[in-house]
Symmetry: C2
Subunit: 364 residues, 2 copies
C-alpha cells in the first residue's frame, strides 16, 4: 500500500487539549486515529485516518475471547525548536511483526505503517506537548475481529494507532522505587508468549502486582517460570544491574520482552566502553553481590519511564538496599542521555530519531 492511499477524514469537532501540567499517563487521546482492516481475501486494506471514536465490534469478536492481540508503545517528542520527532519507531514495527508471528496474526508492511504513523502525528502535531518531560505516547495495536467462537486464528483483524499526550513520568526528577521479588506468580515461561508484546503477558502480571502494592512496593521483579531463580523483568520493564563496574541484563531467552529502551541502553553502554553482558543472572548472585558490596546500581528500562532506578529489593522477606536507595550515577547518565537525544538536546549518534515535521529525512 502507498501512503497516498490513506483516506483522511478530519475531525470537525476537535477536543480541548489538556493542560500540560495536568497530563496523566494514557488517559487523554488526540483528535484522530489510524485504522486499517484485514481479511483473508483483501489482506490489509481500508487504511484511513479518522476522528478518534469508539469501535463498533461484535460481542463474538475473537479478541474478547481468545486474547489474539498485539501492541506496541513508543513516543514522539517536541524539540526546543518546535519540531516533532519519533524515537526509534522502526524498532517497534519490527517487533510488532515478531509478536504477530507468535500470535499467528498476519504480517504488517513496516514501512507503510511507519508512514501512516508519521501522517497521523503530523495531523495531530499540535497535541505533542512541549513542556519539559512531556511527550506524545503512541499506541499501535492489532486485535482479532472475526465474529467466531472457535479456538483458531481469526480471519479478520483491525490495526489501530491511537495517540495520548503524556506528562513527565517523574514529577521531580527520577526517583528510585521499591521492588518485591515475586515468588508465587509467573509472568511468562520459555515456549510461551513472554517475548511477544501481547495482552496475556500483562494480564498474567496484574495479580502479583496487586499483592505487593498492598505492602508498599511499586512493582514486582519477575523470576523465570522454570527454576524460579533467574531474573527476567521488573514490572513491565527490562532490568539492569551494575555489579563491580560491569552492567548485566538478563539475556533474551524466549520469555523476556526485547525492549527498545533495553536495546538503546545496551548501545549506549557499548558506545561508552562500559563493560556490559547479556546473560543469565540469579537472585542469589544479586544477593551475594549485595553482601560483598559490589551491587552498585539497579534499574528498569522502558518506554514510559525510560530509566527507573531500583532503590530497594525485597526477596523472601529480606530487604536489599541498593546504592543507599539513591539514583546511581550511571542510571542518571543513561537517563539524561536517552532523554537528551529524544528531545533533540544532545547529538543523536545512532540515528535514533525520525523527524515528523521534516518528512524528507524519513525517506532516505
Amino acid at each position: 500500500m502507498e501512503v497516498q492511499s490513506i483516506q483522511v477524514e478530519k475531525n470537525t469537532a476537535p477536543k480541548e487539549k489538556p493542560m500540560t501540567d495536568q497530563l496523566e499517563f494514557g488517559r487523554a487521546f488526540t483528535d484522530h486515529m489510524f485504522v486499517m482492516d484485514y481479511s483473508d481475501e483483501l489482506g490489509w486494506h481500508n487504511a484511513k485516518i479518522q476522528p478518534y471514536q469508539p469501535l463498533s465490534i461484535d460481542p463474538s469478536s475473537m479478541v474478547f475471547h481468545y486474547g489474539q492481540s498485539v501492541f506496541e508503545g513508543l513516543k514522539a517528542f517536541r524539540t526546543e525548536s518546535g519540531e516533532v520527532q519519533l524515537f526509534r519507531p522502526t524498532k517497534n514495527f519490527e517487533r510488532m511483526n515478531k509478536s504477530n508471528e507468535r500470535l499467528v496474526i498476519p504480517e504488517i508492511d513496516e514501512e507503510f505503517v511507519l508512514q501512516a504513523l508519521i501522517k497521523l502525528v503530523e495531523i495531530d502535531k499540535d497535541w505533542v506537548p512541549g513542556a519539559d518531560g512531556t511527550s506524545l505516547y503512541i499506541r499501535p495495536f492489532i486485535i482479532a475481529t472475526e465474529p467466531f467462537l472457535g479456538v483458531a486464528p481469526s480471519r479478520n483483524y483491525k490495526f489501530i494507532i491511537i495517540l495520548s499526550p503524556v506528562g513527565s513520568y517523574y514529577k521531580e526528577g527520577i526517583d528510585p522505587v521499591k521492588i518485591a521479588v515475586e515468588s508465587k506468580f509467573v509472568r511468562a515461561v520459555k515456549g510461551g508468549t513472554g517475548e511477544a508484546k501481547t495482552g496475556g503477558n500483562y494480564a498474567a502480571g496484574l495479580k502479583g502486582q496487586e499483592d505487593v502494592a498492598k505492602d508498599g512496593y511499586s512493582q514486582v521483579l519477575w523470576l523465570d517460570g522454570v527454576d524460579r531463580k533467574y531474573i527476567e523483568e521488573v514490572g513491565s520493564m527490562n532490568v539492569f544491574f551494575k555489579i563491580n563496574g560491569e552492567v548485566i541484563t538478563p539475556a533474551l531467552n524466549g520469555s523476556i520482552l526485547p525492549g527498545v529502551t533495553r536495546d538503546s541502553v545496551l548501545q549506549l553502554l557499548q558506545h561508552w566502553n562500559i563493560p556490559v553482558s547479556e546473560r543469565r543472572v540469579s537472585m542469589q548472585e544479586l544477593a551475594d553481590a549485595h553482601a560483598d558490596g559490589t551491587l552498585e546500581e539497579a534499574f528498569g528500562s522502558g518506554t514510559a519511564a525510560v530509566i527507573s532506578p531500583i532503590g530497594l529489593l525485597c526477596w523472601d522477606g529480606k530487604d536489599y538496599h541498593i546504592n543507599n536507595g539513591e539514583t546511581g550515577e550511571l542510571s542518571k547518565k543513561i537517563y539524561d542521555t536517552i532523554t537528551g537525544i529524544q528531545y533533540g538536546k544532545l547529538e543523536d549518534p545512532f540515528n535514533w530519531n525520525i523527524q515528523v515535521t521534516q518528512k524528507a529525512k524519513v525517506n532516505q
Copy 2:
C-alpha cells in the same frame, strides 16, 4: 441484584434461524444478549437483556491492550419432550469467579447471573435446536473496558452472555483424532494463568496448533512448562488415559484448567466403581504403557465435543496408535452417558441439569 431488576428490550427485528442441519460451531447468534456493567462506584449494575448487537467500545479499552478478560462455555439442550435444560451452569459461574480472582476482575453474584442466564435462554428458547446432537452454546464473558493505557486492573468491566445454536460436533458419531505432542511451545506454567479461563492461554496455543495442523494433526498435546515431560491438556480439552484398567488424568496442578466435563467424567467413573486417579503422568509413562500393551484408551473432555477419543499420538517423530485408532469402549460409554443425561434421555443421578422452562426447580 434481583432478577426482576433486569431490564428487557425485545428484539423487534428477529433474525431467521439457521437450518438445523447447517449449524456450525459458534458462527450464528440468537436475537438477544445479556449485558451488565461494572464501575468501582456502582459495582455490577445496569443489567439488561437487549437485542444482539455490536458493542461500542473505546479503542483505549484495556481489554484490547492488556488482555484482562475471562470467559466460560456451557450448553443448553432440548429434551425429547421439548423442555430446555442447562448442563451444570453453577459450575461455570463458580469457575468464572476463580478466573476473576486470578485476573483481578471483580466477583460476580453467581446466583444472579444464573437467573439472568435462565431468563435470557427463556427469551431465546426457540433458538435451542432440537435435532440430534445439536444444542445452544452459551458464552458468558467479562472484558475490561476502562479507557486507560496504564498496566493496572481496569476500573470498568462488561459482563456479557451471548448464545449460539450449534450443530453436532461429530457428523457421524464420535471419531478418534490424531494428536501431536508439542515440544516447542507451552500453553501455560504453574504460577501463570493456566487454571483460569482467560484469553491469553488460548492465544498462546494458536501457534503450536497451526504448526501441527500442517502435518495433519487436529490438536496438540500440551506438556508442562517446567520439565516438558508431564501431560497437561489436549488442545483446549482435559485429557484422560485408560492404562491397565485404571483411568488416569493429570492432577490440577495450577496450570491445568479445571474442566466441568472433566469433573463429570470423574464423577461418572467413581459412580461406576472404575479405578480412577488424578496424578502426574509423563509422556514416557504413556510410551511405556503403549509398549507393554496396557495403554487401552485415551480421550479429551470438553464442553464442545464432550468426549474426543485419541486414536494416535505422535511424540518426537514416533507414532503411538491407541486402541487400533478406534473409539474405546469406555470412551463411548462415557460419551453416551453424559450426552444421554444432557438430552434428558437418561436418569440424572447427580442433579447436573437445571430446567430453563420449569424455573421452580432452579430455586430449590
